[in-house]
Symmetry: C2
């Protein structure tokens, strides 16, 4: 493969990566819509923002899903932890708004 072919192949792969990233953003936006509803519901019902038992189940489930789809489970866990931290921070805001 010469330099021009390598450049073209890189462009092709990057176009796929950009498409996947757009899909990831859409899914994350939808996920935060769901967790926003969860946050409002928890605030109204007086449930605590964090739920360690639920989080443990989610992490274990994602590890299994990751392994079967060829994604590094350690990395999937890092991403989920980042998402959960953001969600819990948002939940606290709903609690504060409700208080």
């Amino acid at each position: 493969m010469d330099a021009e072919e390598a450049r073209q192949e890189l462009g092709r792969l990057r176009a796929s990566i950009d498409n996947l990233d757009a899909a990831l953003v859409s899914l994350l936006a939808e996920r935060f819509k769901c967790t926003e509803q969860v946050g409002r519901l928890k605030a109204r019902a007086g449930m605590p923002p964090a739920d360690p038992a639920r989080e443990a189940v989610q992490i274990e489930r994602l590890r299994v899903l990751s392994e079967s789809s060829g994604l590094d489970p350690e990395f999937a866990e890092k991403i989920l932890n980042l998402i959960i931290a953001e969600v819990i921070q948002n939940h606290h805001q709903f609690l504060d708004a409700e208080a």
Copy 2:
């Protein structure tokens, strides 16, 4: 809404979140398949693992996409930075394997 209704609504929302998480894992697995090909290509073609100009374009593009889909752009950038750090680490492994 009484406690039982709140519990049912929470279960419904969590089922959607679980579905979205499964889709996120699949997309991430596919994205890492693409970046693995990029890593092998770069190692063969002698291109550097990181490409700050490309990363800047990706981050700006995702910020715009995030804003239009209602996702916090700061959060999208955090996620992308985590993904890029993992990708570059993987790229280095291909370089080492090629060396």
